[in-house]
Symmetry: D2
C-alpha cells in the first residue's frame, strides 16, 4: 500500500460539491450586465472549501445527449460551461493561491472524448476538447512557474457501487482506486520529469 493513496479521492470528493457552487457564477456571466463574474465570491467559496490548496482536481463534466440536430442549445452551453469553463474558474482561483508559493498541482480529468469526437457526442467533445486545450496551455505557461498541470484521459467505464463489470470480464472497468493511484503518482513526480498528460484504460478496452 502506498501512503496517501486516498488523498486524491478525498480531494475529488471535496471538489464535487464545491464545483456545484462554482457553476452558479457562470449563469451570472451570461447576463453581461456590467457586474460581471463575482470572482471575489467565487474565490471565497474556493477558500472555504479548499483553504489555500496545494492540489486541485477538476472532475466535473456534463453533456447533452442525442442526434446533433436535436440537441437543445441551452443544454450544449451548459455542457461546455460545466466541463470546461468551470475548469477554468476553479483553476484560476487555485493558481492565484499557488503562485506566491511557486508550488502546487492542478489535475484535470478528461475522457476518450477529449481526443476523439464521437458521433452523437458533440457537446461532450466540445467540453472535453476545450478542457484539454486549457490544460495544455496552462502546462506551457505555469509549469516553469512551479505549478504542475496534468490532464488524464480516462477511457472506459468507471466501476462504482451502481455499476460493476460482469464476472467473466474481470477488471474491464476502471477501479477508482487504480485511477487515484496514477493521479497520486503524477503528484509525486520530481519536477525534472513531469507528465502533462496520460491515458488510463482497462486492459481489455478497445481503442
Amino acid at each position: 500500500m502506498i501512503a496517501g493513496f486516498e488523498f486524491p479521492i478525498l480531494l475529488a470528493e471535496i471538489a464535487r460539491p464545491h464545483l456545484g457552487v462554482l457553476e452558479q457564477p457562470f449563469a451570472g456571466i451570461g447576463k453581461n450586465d456590467g457586474a460581471g463574474f463575482d470572482h471575489v465570491t467565487a474565490g471565497r467559496e474556493v477558500e472555504r472549501e479548499l483553504g489555500s490548496p496545494d492540489v486541485v482536481i477538476y472532475n466535473a463534466s456534463a453533456r447533452a445527449r442525442g442526434a446533433f440536430v436535436d440537441l437543445a442549445p441551452a443544454e450544449v452551453a451548459q455542457a461546455i460551461a460545466v466541463s470546461a469553463f468551470g475548469g477554468f474558474l476553479v483553476a484560476q482561483q487555485a493558481v492565484q493561491r499557488m503562485l506566491p508559493n511557486k508550488h502546487g498541482a492542478i489535475l484535470f480529468t478528461g475522457a476518450s472524448a477529449s481526443v476523439k469526437g464521437y458521433p452523437q457526442s458533440s457537446s461532450f467533445a466540445m467540453g472535453k476538447f476545450a478542457l484539454r486545450g486549457l490544460a495544455q496551455s496552462m502546462a506551457r505557461e505555469l509549469s516553469p512557474q512551479g505549478i504542475h498541470i496534468a490532464h488524464f484521459v480516462i477511457d472506459g467505464g468507471i466501476r462504482s457501487a451502481a455499476r460493476v463489470e460482469p464476472a467473466d470480464k474481470p477488471d474491464s472497468m476502471l477501479d477508482p482506486d487504480a485511477i487515484a493511484l496514477s493521479y497520486w503518482n503524477v503528484l509525486q513526480q520530481p519536477r525534472s520529469a513531469w507528465t502533462w498528460e496520460l491515458e488510463l484504460r482497462p486492459w481489455v478496452e478497445k481503442f
Copy 2:
C-alpha cells in the same frame, strides 16, 4: 483562375455580421430563466442571412489576452461563446436545413491554437479546441448522411490591407485567396474521398 474562387470568401463575409446576431442569444442562455435559447429567432436570422444554405463557413473567434491569472472570466466565457458555441449554433441551424437534401458542407476555420495550447492563450485554446471537437464529432455523425464537415487549421498570419509581410519575406503570410482556394477544393471533393481536416501555413512558417 478558378471559377467560383470568390465564393467562400463571399460566404465568410456574409457570415461575419450574421454571427454578431447569433452571439446575443448566448448571453440569454446564461440566465437559466426557463425561457432558454430562442432558437426560433436564431433560425429565422440564419434563414434571412443565408437562405437555405448548401455551404456554411464558420470563421468567428474571440480571445482574452494576458497571463492566465489575470484573465477576466467574463471575457473567457465570451471567447468560448464566440469561437465554439457560436459554431455549434450556426452549424445546427445549417444542418437542419441540409439534412432533408442529404447534401451540404460546413467548413470550420481553426488555428494553430486548435491543436496546440500556447502559453498565455488558454481562452483561445479552449475555444479552438472545442470547435475542433465539434467538427470531428459532426464529421463522424453527419458525413454518412451526406453532409461534408471540414476543419481548417490556419497556422500563420493572414495578409490583409492592414497587415502585409515585409518585402524580403515573400509569401510569409497567408493570402486570403490561397486559403479560399483550399476551402473551395475541399468543397469540390467527390464523396468517395472527403477530407475532414487539413492544415494551411506559409512555406516559411515555423511549426
Copy 3:
C-alpha cells in the same frame, strides 16, 4: 474537368516499377560490407525514370500479416524497408535534384495505419508511422527552401478493377481519380498556404 488531373496518377504509375528497382539496394545496406548503398546507381535509376523531376509521389508499401508473435522478422524488416526507407531513398534523390531550382514537391501516401497502430498490424504501423515522421521532418526542413512536402492519410479501401464496392454502398471505396484530384490540388497550392498533411476517406467510412 480539371486539366492535368491525370498527372499524379501517371506519376504513381511511373514510380511503382521504379520503386521496385530502389528496393533492391536496401538489401545491400544490411551487408555493412564497406561497399554500402550504391546511391550512384540509385540516383541513375531515378534520373532514368523521372528525369529531373519536379513532382514525386511515393506510394510503395509492404507489410507482414499475422499475430505479433508469429511475424517473420525478415518480412517485418522488408515491410519497413519498402514502406519507409524506400521513401527516404527516393525523396533524397529527388530533393537533391529539386534544391538547385528551389522548387518541387514530394507527396507521400500514408494510410490510417500512419496515425493509428492497429492490432495484428505492427509491421505496417512501423513502416507508415516512419514514413509520416520522414514527411513531417522534411516539411519542416525543406518547405522554407521551396520544396513542398505533403503526406496523405488514405483511410479506406481503394476502388480498382479487381475490387469494387457493393451497389448498395455507393462511393464507399476511394475512387483513384478522387484521390488524384486532392493530390493535384495540393500541388496547385500557392506557397503562402501549403498543406503538409490531409486525410482522405469515403463519406461512410468509420473512423
Copy 4:
C-alpha cells in the same frame, strides 16, 4: 523511498549491451539469402541475458545527423534498425516468453521526435515514429492478453555524469531516477487502469 525503484534502471543497464548483440542479426536480414534472420540465436541471447523476463525496457536508438540531402543512406538504415527494428526483435522474443503466463510488461523509450518530426532529424523521426507505431499496435493487440505495453515520450536532456544542467537552471534536465520512478509506477498500475503512453519533461522545458 519506493522499493524496487532501481529495478528499471538495472534492466536498462542489462538491455543496453544486449541490444548490441541483437543489432547484428539485422545486418543478416538484408542479405535475403534464404537463411533469413536467425531468431533461434537471437532468442538464445535474450534468454541468456534476461532469462524468462517479466519486464523488458527498450531504450536503444541511433540517428544520422546533418541536412537531409547529405545523409548517408546506410546510416539512415542503421538508425531505423537500432531505434525501431531492434525494438521489434526484442519485444517479439520477450512476448513469446510472456504470453504463456499471460503476464508481463514491455516499456519503450521514445523522445520528442516520436511525435514531432524536427528539421535535420529525419532519420531519428523515422526510427522513433516507427517505434511508437509498434508500441501502439502491440498495446492494442497484447493488452487484452495480459501484456502491458507502454511508450514513454522523453522530452529533454537526460542528466548524466557527463552532462549536468547549469546551477541557475535547477532540474532543467531529466534526472534518470525521476524517469525510472515513472517507469516503475506504470509497471505497478492495476490492469483496470493501464497507461499506454505518457510524456516526461522537465518543468522548464519548452514544448
